[in-house]
Amino acid sequence: MTHFAAVVLFAFFASIVFGITQRETPRGMVRYGAYCFVLFVGSAIALSWIMYLIAR
């Protein structure tokens, strides 16, 4: 399993739980879950690029 696949799977499962537990309506759950997923993966990619540029 690649690091990126691990990140995506982690974000996917965590976002489902966050969506269900932090919102009351199904629509709100889906929206918040998607929001969390994008934040998880997006921040991982952004931090990876920052570390890559710092290391050079």
Binding site: M1, A6, L9, V17, I20, E24
Partner: protein, 143 residues
């Protein structure tokens, strides 16, 4: 003044709404069941869809952690180990059964095992969140 009237008008509705769903039985049962078995708290409250999704997510994360040769904490050497053990214990019976079955690595020996260890700990923490959510549903704090 108008606000006071609104409050007094809304109060009986809220009371009657709460009375229409009588709360019977042990109020902490969904919390304990949800901790022991992922999703069980929601199943007890007949929230089948939410329970199934929570169970699939937590079980999936835990299984992936084991598949990546993640470590199941058994002894504590420092404060970080203690926090890891607390996270592992959040998995409830999953942790206990896996320990008894000899699953999980004793020591992290490959790179992915470190990720696996985190997956197992986070699955436990997510399970605690799900169990508390079931408790909130049971007490009426959430619908």
């Amino acid at each position: 003044m108008a606000t006071e009237e609104n409050k007094s008008a809304a109060a009986p509705v809220a009371k009657s709404g709460a009375q229409s769903e009588p709360q019977q039985g042990f109020v902490y049962l969904p919390l304990i069941a949800g901790w022991l078995v992922p999703g069980a708290g929601h199943f007890l409250l007949r929230k089948w869809g939410r329970g199934a999704l929570l169970a699939a997510s937590i079980l999936g994360m835990f299984a992936l952690g084991l598949a990546m040769h993640g470590e199941l904490k058994s002894e504590v050497h420092d404060i970080l180990d203690m926090l890891g053990l607390a996270g592992d214990l959040g998995n409830g019976l999953l942790y206990l059964v896996s320990r008894l079955a000899g699953l999980g690595a004793d020591k992290v020996q490959v790179t992915t095992a470190d990720y696996g260890t985190r997956f197992i700990v986070v699955a436990g923490l997510l399970n605690v969140i799900a169990a508390v959510d079931a408790h909130n549903l049971r007490t009426g704090r959430k619908s």
